[in-house]
């Protein structure tokens, strides 16, 4: 039994339209732990594959910030890791597959549907190029409003359901070109821990520690931006409706901004599409730096989300941009230390003393949000070693854990 995992992976060949379930390779988890590090090992084991969607040991579990799935993409000689946040990573793992290894290309558009340990490749020829319409169409077809959809639309940036993902490398465009329009998942699985009681107790304690490590007035993307500017943590955003967390996260970084309705309107009835869930601090930062009207700026970012354009790139070219200009916009990136990780998260730790690369390597390997890792010093190797001990019966010293995770950054 593979504790903290399902114990199975899926091999998808788009050219042959085939899906094959296999047990995880022996020792994959004990040597690579999971997430981006295990994705790399699977790309070596299956050299014809160039894309792996993977879960960390903590993805989908009540570990603070454990929302993360990772899309690892080998494009020529360059390997990148894109975080899949909100509820996408959790649903992917609980669909029954820890890793999805994808190779080949299909001349006709397809989508992959993962649920209950079952995988189907279905035709997607009729799927709209508008990401919002595509998500609506897939959820209608699959009969479940909670299906998580990774969608490749008109532009280069992979859509995370209706909202923009942390893709900065053009995953969306690459998927579309090879005939993969969407990966849909719904997680109804059950995950076991080696010592469930001890693991759950440790998770509860860590949730409290992380919450206590965050200042009370630190909220939303504006809190992250405030910290980066060294100013007040929290400032007034006039269009703010409610903030949301990703799965299992004590920090409410995602902000819903209403442009088409009074933001104080809380009832279910009202405008069908009143605004945008913004998950990208850099896009908000750029809009503010440009002095853009926030309402028009958010409308611009909503157009970008529908098109599959990069949100930060869209924000940098301005609210008058045409759809074509949005699709062609560059990813935009804060100056981060680099490496294979997405520059979606803040470009430096938001507390004293953290190391950006170490925090990202831990996050992408273990299945923790890379943004939360930069916010809370409570999430450290010692705490993770304790969770791996009770969760997987893995005895690791903090230094050894870091060494394994940092192999991803090499």
């Amino acid at each position: 039994m593979e504790f903290l995992f399902n114990g199975s992976m899926l091999l998808v060949d788009l050219g042959r339209k085939s899906c094959e379930e296999q047990p995880l390779p022996p020792d994959l988890l004990s040597t690579c732990l999971g997430g981006a590090r295990a994705n790399l090992a699977l790309l070596q084991e299956f050299p014809s594959a160039d894309l792996v969607l993977g879960s960390g040991p903590f993805t989908g579990l009540p570990v603070p910030g454990a929302c993360l799935g990772v899309a690892t993409w080998k494009d020529k000689e360059r390997i990148t890791h894109t975080p899949l946040h909100l509820f996408a990573g959790m649903e992917l793992k609980l669909s029954g597959f820890d890793f999805v290894v994808i190779s080949g290309a299909s001349p006709e558009p397809l989508y992959l549907w993962l649920h209950d340990g079952i995988a189907d490749l279905e035709p997607a020829g009729e799927l709209p190029r508008d990401n919002w319409e595509a998500v609506d169409a897939l959820r209608r077809e699959l009969g479940d409003e909670l299906v998580q959809v990774l969608v490749a639309g008109e532009g280069p940036c992979l859509g995370l359901g209706y909202w923009s993902s942390a893709d900065r490398v053009g995953l969306g465009g690459a998927w579309r070109e090879r005939g993969l329009r969407a990966v849909c998942s719904r997680g109804l699985g059950i995950i076991d821990a080696a010592d469930p009681g001890a693991f759950a107790e440790a998770c509860a304690g860590l949730v409290r520690e992380v919450r206590d490590s965050l200042p009370e007035d630190l909220h939303g993307l504006e809190g992250i931006i405030g910290r980066l500017r060294g100013e007040t943590f929290d400032y007034h955003l006039p269009l703010l409706h409610r903030r949301r967390s990703c799965f299992a996260c004590p920090y409410d970084c995602n902000i819903f901004l209403k442009t088409e309705e009074d933001p104080s309107h809380m009832e279910a009835e009202g405008e069908e599409e009143p605004g945008l869930l913004l998950t990208d601090a850099q896009a908000l930062w750029l809009l503010e730096e440009a002095g853009a009207d926030l309402r028009e700026g958010v409308r611009l970012l909503r157009r970008a989300a529908r098109l599959g354009a990069y949100p930060a790139g869209a924000a940098s070219i301005g609210v008058e941009a045409t759809d074509r200009e949005l699709v062609d916009a560059s990813p935009g990136a804060w100056e981060a230390p680099g490496g294979p990780f997405s520059p979606w998260a803040a470009p430096r730790p938001l507390y004293e003393g953290g190391d950006w690369m170490e925090r990202q390597a831990l996050a992408y390997t273990l299945g923790i949000c890379p943004q939360l890792m930069l916010l809370s010093p409570a999430l450290g190797p010692e705490a993770f070693c304790g969770l791996l001990r009770s969760g997987m019966e893995l005895e690791l010293e903090p230094g050894e854990l870091l060494r394994i995770c940092l192999e991803v950054a090499d």
Partner: protein, 117 residues
């Protein structure tokens, strides 16, 4: 002991669902909880919590907290979007015997609190 809901403090992290499911199954899923996050109307950012009691449901909606009989909600076709609707789940017992319910222990925002008496 019962649980109170402050719906506007909820940020939809779903930790309560997983913690409650764990208390039922000693494993991790979102299927067995007596509390459920309502997150279906994503484009409207409308969200809330539903807590199943023996004879009623507590609906923690943005508009306020409402208690509805199970029969009334079933007639409305309610219960939220889920593969295992709340109406067929076990009722909350407030984690009888524990000092603090699991959902309250995990809630990071104070949206869930225990009420004694």
């Amino acid at each position: 002991m019962s649980i109170s809901i402050d719906p506007l403090k909820c940020t939809a992290c779903a930790l309560c669902e997983e913690a409650c499911s764990f208390r039922r199954d000693e494993a991790f899923s979102l299927l067995s909880s007596s509390i459920m996050l309502y997150r279906a109307q994503e484009k409207r950012n409308y969200l809330g919590l539903v807590l199943k009691l023996e004879d009623s449901l507590v609906l923690g909606r943005a508009e306020g907290v409402e208690r509805a009989s199970i029969g009334e909600l079933a007639a409305r076709g309610g219960g939220g979007a889920s593969a295992k609707p709340i109406l067929i789940r076990e009722a909350c017992d407030g984690c009888e015997g524990l000092e603090e319910p699991w959902c309250v222990r995990f809630c990071p925002t104070g949206a869930l609190r225990k009420e004694v008496g």
